[in-house]
């Protein structure tokens, strides 16, 4: 293999090119990213960066070491437009083409948008550094705006927490009756909801947004309940969709990300995928999944890069125990494994509600399916959480 192209220059793409070089690939290595910035870390966007505690330089994923040592053919600010799988050629916006022997797809996701409202000033999504800097400027302008967060998933709730920490009035609107219940189960989701309510977020649950209007700086968010939220800034956090438009017409299965086998390889020869664009078969759970978290991008990029370089018969399965975290106020929520409705949840240490004089509870909880440990959650209890992740990882499946 002499030429490898990696499409996507965020965490997964960067870790893929780092791994390819570390594993001894000396050929031409091209990294394509649609943002103008060198690879940066996204988790702080909704937290330290948004609150103005960190400046963008601190998000540099190479920690100032630069990209030169990787000897890359770097294409930043350029979007991949099409893939010609027969010719083994990626076409970039603007017409440039890149021939490859191996391709690693790490084009990530884009923020999902409402069918209305996004043309208005003061209506934001939060996915990129530029999104975050725009939102930060709006939130920190005097006098502090009132904010409505639409969608109370992890991003929405982290933004709501950051806004409260900036002293802003915040409303959060969520279609589900209980935010995060699908991911964390009802008891833990209730504890997270209670934290936001204690911190003064006005929650509007089980309602749809029916309209969004602006009159000068004043925005009105119309809810299906008939309520109208008046605010100056709106943040839409209703999830993401995989950036697979450039793969159309290749015959690849693109339903909810690009489909891969257990080895992170797509149906095209010598084409792998990693990060939150990849939907792959995780043998451990006997489930085809797509995971939108930081640790997944790192682990899968390393695995996919190694498999791309290996002869087909030596490629290995990628079967991790997924891990993610979320920081809200001073709460570090950590989760390992896969929970779903019907799993039996139990508190194994601490509790769901803070004790007297405590701001946060310290919680370790487990999720079991037919008696088998399938997930673990912790509030500010990393030791126990990692112990449970180890226990799950040590098992075959």
């Amino acid at each position: 293999m002499e030429r490898i192209v990696v499409v996507g220059a965020s965490l997964a793409g960067l870790r893929a090119v780092e791994a390819l070089r570390r594993l001894g690939f000396e050929g031409r290595l091209t990294l394509v990213g649609d943002e103008p910035h060198a690879p940066y870390d996204r988790p702080p966007l909704s937290k330290q960066l948004l609150r103005g505690q960190w400046q963008p330089e601190r998000l540099d994923l190479r920690r100032g070491a630069g990209l030169d040592a990787l000897d890359l053919d770097l294409k930043l600010g350029l979007r991949a437009a099409a893939l010609d799988a027969n010719a083994r050629r990626v076409q970039l916006e603007g017409g440039e083409t890149l021939d490859y022997d191996g391709l690693l797809i790490a084009s990530g996701c884009r923020a999902r948008k409402l069918p209305f409202g996004h043309g208005l000033p003061g209506v934001h999504v939060l996915r990129t550094l530029d999104d975050a800097l725009g939102l930060r400027a709006a939130l920190t302008a005097a006098p502090g705006p009132r904010v409505c967060v639409i969608g109370a998933g992890f991003i929405g709730l982290e933004v709501a927490a950051s806004c409260r920490e900036l002293g802003l009035e915040v409303h959060a609107v969520e279609a589900a009756a209980l935010p995060l219940a699908e991911r964390l189960g009802e008891p833990v989701a209730r504890a997270v909801l209670a934290l936001h309510e204690r911190r003064g977020v006005a929650m509007h649950l089980g309602v749809q947004v029916q309209g969004l209007e602006a009159e000068g700086a004043l925005h009105r968010v119309r809810l299906s309940s008939g309520d109208v939220i008046e605010c100056e800034q709106v943040v839409v956090g209703i999830g993401v969709k995989p950036a697979v438009d450039w793969l159309a017409g290749t015959g690849l299965d693109l339903q909810d990300g690009v489909l891969c086998d257990a080895k992170c390889m797509t149906a095209l020869s010598n084409v792998a995928a990693a990060g939150d664009v990849a939907r792959w078969y995780n043998r451990r759970y006997d489930e085809t999944m797509r995971v939108e978290h930081w640790t997944q991008a790192v682990e899968q990029a390393n695995h996919a890069a190694a498999n791309l370089l290996a002869p087909a018969e030596e490629r290995t399965d990628f079967a991790p125990v997924p891990y993610f975290w979320s920081d809200q106020y001073g709460l570090k929520l950590q989760f390992a494994g896969r929970a779903r409705a019907g799993d039996a949840f139990s508190v194994v240490e601490g509790g769901l509600e803070p004790g007297e004089g405590e701001e946060f509870s310290r919680l370790v909880g487990t999720y079991r399916r037919e008696g088998k440990l399938v997930g673990a959650v912790a509030f500010n209890r990393p030791v126990q959480l990692m112990g449970l992740r180890r226990e799950m990882a040590a098992r075959e499946g």
Binding site: W294, T295, Y323, Q334, P382, V383, M386, A393
Partner: protein, 63 residues
């Protein structure tokens, strides 16, 4: 080989304790401790995994 942790960056995720439990430990106070700052080269692979998996980029290996 020397293991260096920037404790201003460390947020005690604990992934390093999974990658290299011989070297990293989080104790009940919630803080990370380095059990051996100068491990021999047999630990290199595990330590490189710990460096890569640290969500805050807090771990460095020096020659």
């Amino acid at each position: 080989m020397k293991v260096v942790v920037d404790f201003d960056l460390c947020q005690s995720h604990g992934l390093c304790t999974q990658a290299a439990p011989e070297i990293f430990e989080i104790r009940d106070d919630g803080f990370l401790y380095i059990l051996n700052e100068t491990p021999d080269d047999s630990m290199k692979k595990k330590l490189e995994t710990a460096v890569r998996e640290c969500p805050t980029g807090a771990i460095k290996l020096e020659a």
